[in-house]
């Protein structure tokens, strides 16, 4: 047993972190929120070039096989940088197509998704009704409770999320039927698990970014003639924030290793709550300047709550955890 990332896994995360640090992600986020997808899509292409989306597709369709641990590690970095777009949804769609056991849709869509030439968004049974970024994604998939996978013809009017860089829409009904049956239902369940896992990873990265920025601010901002980071009340809030994030991280790893629904729910619950707590601490310690959209902090601040609830609210995750545990006892 060695419960630590391997050198390769750490290297992959470092590569992504370097790439994102060298990109002006905040500018891409602001443009995305204003409906200009060009900078975000340019970023998307650079991310795809690292092999990111290949980690969610099988080798027969240009993927690297399903590699949840590597992908989750990567999504922590996407969250840390605040990258906009249907990233989770594209990876989940790739998993759905990989697990379908039906060659035709996989052959048709996977190579483009893996290469980053196309993107996808989707709705799945049991998850929320809205498709994220339906206006920006190349494909909009829906899976019905009856197990029909369709390519939706379009989506209703765009709704803005609490996070302006997340845009929501209800998929139109109907559309081309791509596959149907129990295999679709099973594949959709796997895809939903992956979506939950990768959202948990994004939460962790988002929380880490919020904490890091707040720690820097607390070191520089002075009041009463001293840095506010020297005040015990401030220190303790930041210590608690770190505590929440550090105990979420191993849950995320275990969830990616096992892909057990209870583990994934535990990771999502914990990372989501830790990120949201980090956002509230960041807001309080930045004071009024933190309550503005001008400061880049707002890009993460407004993400924390929607990510906490997307692909499995805390309440849904707790129910899943307890259900699994009761089964095991």
């Amino acid at each position: 047993m060695r419960f630590l990332p391997s050198e390769e896994q750490s290297d992959f995360a470092r590569t992504l972190r370097g790439l994102l640090a060298a990109s002006d992600v905040p500018a891409a986020v602001r443009a995305w929120g204003a409906g200009d997808h060009a900078p975000g899509k340019a970023l998307w292409a650079r991310l795809a070039a690292t092999g990111l989306f290949a980690l969610a597709a099988d080798e027969a369709h240009e993927g690297m096989g399903l590699m949840p641990l590597e992908l989750a590690t990567g999504f922590v970095e996407l969250g840390r940088a605040g990258v906009p777009g249907p990233l989770v949804e594209t990876a989940a769609a790739a998993v759905l197509l990989t697990r379908l056991g039906d060659e035709a849709p996989a052959k048709r869509f996977l190579p483009g998704l893996v290469a980053g030439e196309t993107s996808a968004t989707l709705t799945l049974p049991g998850a929320g009704p809205y498709a994220l970024d339906a206006d920006a994604a190349t494909h909009l998939f829906t899976v019905s409770p009856a197990g029909e996978l369709r390519l939706a013809p379009g989506a209703g009017p765009l709704r803005t999320s609490i996070d302006p860089a997340r845009r929501l829409a209800l998929p139109d009904g109907g559309g081309e039927l791509l596959a149907a049956g129990p295999a679709v239902t099973a594949a959709a369940r796997d895809a939903a698990d992956w979506a939950r896992l990768l959202t948990a990873a994004q939460c962790l990265g988002t929380g880490e970014a919020l904490l890091a920025r707040t720690v820097e601010y607390a070191k520089q901002r002075t009041q009463f003639g001293t840095a506010i980071g020297g005040f015990q009340a401030v220190k303790h809030r930041l210590a608690d924030t770190l505590l929440g994030l550090e105990f979420a991280r191993p849950l995320l790893w275990a969830a990616a290793l096992t892909l057990a629904p209870g583990e994934i729910a535990a990771a999502k619950l914990t990372a989501g709550e830790a990120a949201y707590a980090a956002a509230m601490t960041a807001l309080q310690l930045h004071g009024a300047v933190g309550y503005t959209e001008e400061l880049d902090l707002s890009l993460w601040l407004r993400k924390a709550r929607p990510l906490r609830d997307a692909w499995g609210s805390p309440s849904q995750c707790r129910a899943a955890v307890l259900q699994e545990r009761l089964r095991a006892l």
Partner: protein, 381 residues
């Protein structure tokens, strides 16, 4: 990265599970914070030791099995899952023994460790003083040089297990003129039955004498019972408190077992409509798993040759808060029966309440986290 244990670890787990299933007392022992419970727990320690389960991570020559941290964590999972009694000798095993392994002479190890492993000698810790809790370096109990040893005088307090224990360990001021408070301190072991020692048990919240005050009046300690060099007591003690906050005091197995008992309590007493309480039960399950995994990650770092420093403060704050939340949820599930002092969850709840206070208060731990892990400036405490 993986979470699978090698075959030899699983075999070790099975051996521990079988032995525990055959030997754990069918009815719980009386509280170890009572005289009769202390004696019963001492017998349990002897039984554990007879099959070499009392100190599995120690070298075989001292009564252990010489296994690594992974085996130890697995043993702890089985130990607590089996419903085995609390460890009356934990102060010695978890706090003094690591210090002896790191800083003592071979003679001291050979003399002290085997009787600790068997429960024949049970150790109390003697750190705090009435004026020195979180600011331990301000302690004033002194050890004065005498022929062949030292004479201890002063007062220690909150000395866990001291009401019924045999010997104690702590630090004492040997050089009052040292320029800084944490210099001129010496780490030593002493006999709680020696002339000049008065032990006054203190009842904790439930009245049980879980700790005691020690009044020391020129208590003789031979040179052979000084650990390390005189004057180096602070450095030596700090390596011990790191252990206390970190892994050794609260193995994850303990919380995994407690969380499972809570889930069972939810099954038998839970109201399906009370989703708020259901959520807290789920949080207990998640917290135990998080703590287990955090520990495995740290154990993997140990195995890779890294050391764990201020991270042990994260550990301490986490488990102490977790422990209270878990026990509060149990009391809420019990409803009116929660009030009964002899209930199964009453004493563990009382015990959990001390977590944020001992082993360095959580306020001090948060300062350590903020300053050493986040790099925030030192401020006034």
């Amino acid at each position: 990265m993986d979470l699978n244990h090698a075959a030899d670890v699983e075999a070790f787990r099975a051996e521990a599970r079988d032995w525990l299933a055959a030997h754990v007392p069918a009815t719980p022992l009386p509280s170890l914070e009572t005289r009769e419970g202390f004696a019963a727990h001492r017998e349990w320690e002897a039984l554990l030791h007879s099959a070499r389960w009392s100190v599995v991570s120690w070298p075989e020559e001292y009564g252990g099995r010489g296994v690594d941290i992974e085996h130890w964590l697995v043993f702890e999972e089985e130990y607590w899952a089996s419903g085995a009694p609390g460890r009356v000798s934990q102060n010695g095993i978890n706090l003094l023994a690591p210090t002896l392994f790191d800083h003592a002479t071979d003679e001291q190890r050979a003399r002290v460790l085997p009787s600790m492993a068997s429960g024949e000698v049970i150790w109390a810790q003697a750190w705090s003083e009435p004026g020195s809790g979180s600011d331990l370096a301000s302690l004033t109990s002194r050890a004065v040089r005498t022929e062949g040893g030292w004479l201890l005088s002063g007062q220690k307090t909150w000395s866990s297990r001291a009401a019924f224990a045999d010997r104690a360990f702590g630090i004492f001021r040997t050089d009052p003129d040292a320029p800084k408070p944490h210099q001129g301190l010496t780490y030593l072991m002493f006999d709680l039955h020696a002339p000049g020692v008065t032990v006054r048990p203190i009842g904790r919240l439930d009245g049980k004498p879980a700790f005691a005050e020690l009044f020391l009046d020129e208590v003789f300690v031979p040179d052979a019972d000084v650990i390390g060099e005189p004057g180096q007591g602070w450095r030596i003690a700090m390596s011990t408190t790191g252990n206390e906050r970190g892994l050794t005091l609260r193995a994850p197995g303990r919380f995994l077992a407690a969380a499972d008992r809570l889930v069972e309590l939810w099954q038998s007493h839970g109201d399906p409509a009370d989703t708020a309480l259901r959520d807290r039960v789920a949080d207990a399950v998640v917290g135990a798993r998080a703590y287990q995994l955090f520990t495995w990650a740290n154990a993997s770092r140990f195995a890779a040759g890294e050391t764990i420093g201020a991270e042990s403060s994260l550990n301490k704050v986490f488990w102490s808060q977790y422990d209270i939340a878990l026990h509060e949820s149990a009391l809420d599930l019990l409803g009116p029966d929660a009030e009964l002092a002899d209930g199964e969850w009453a004493e563990p709840w009382i015990f959990s309440l001390a977590g944020p206070i001992y082993a360095g208060t959580n306020e001090i731990q948060r300062d350590i986290i903020a300053e050493r892990l986040l790099g925030l400036p030192k401020g006034r405490r």
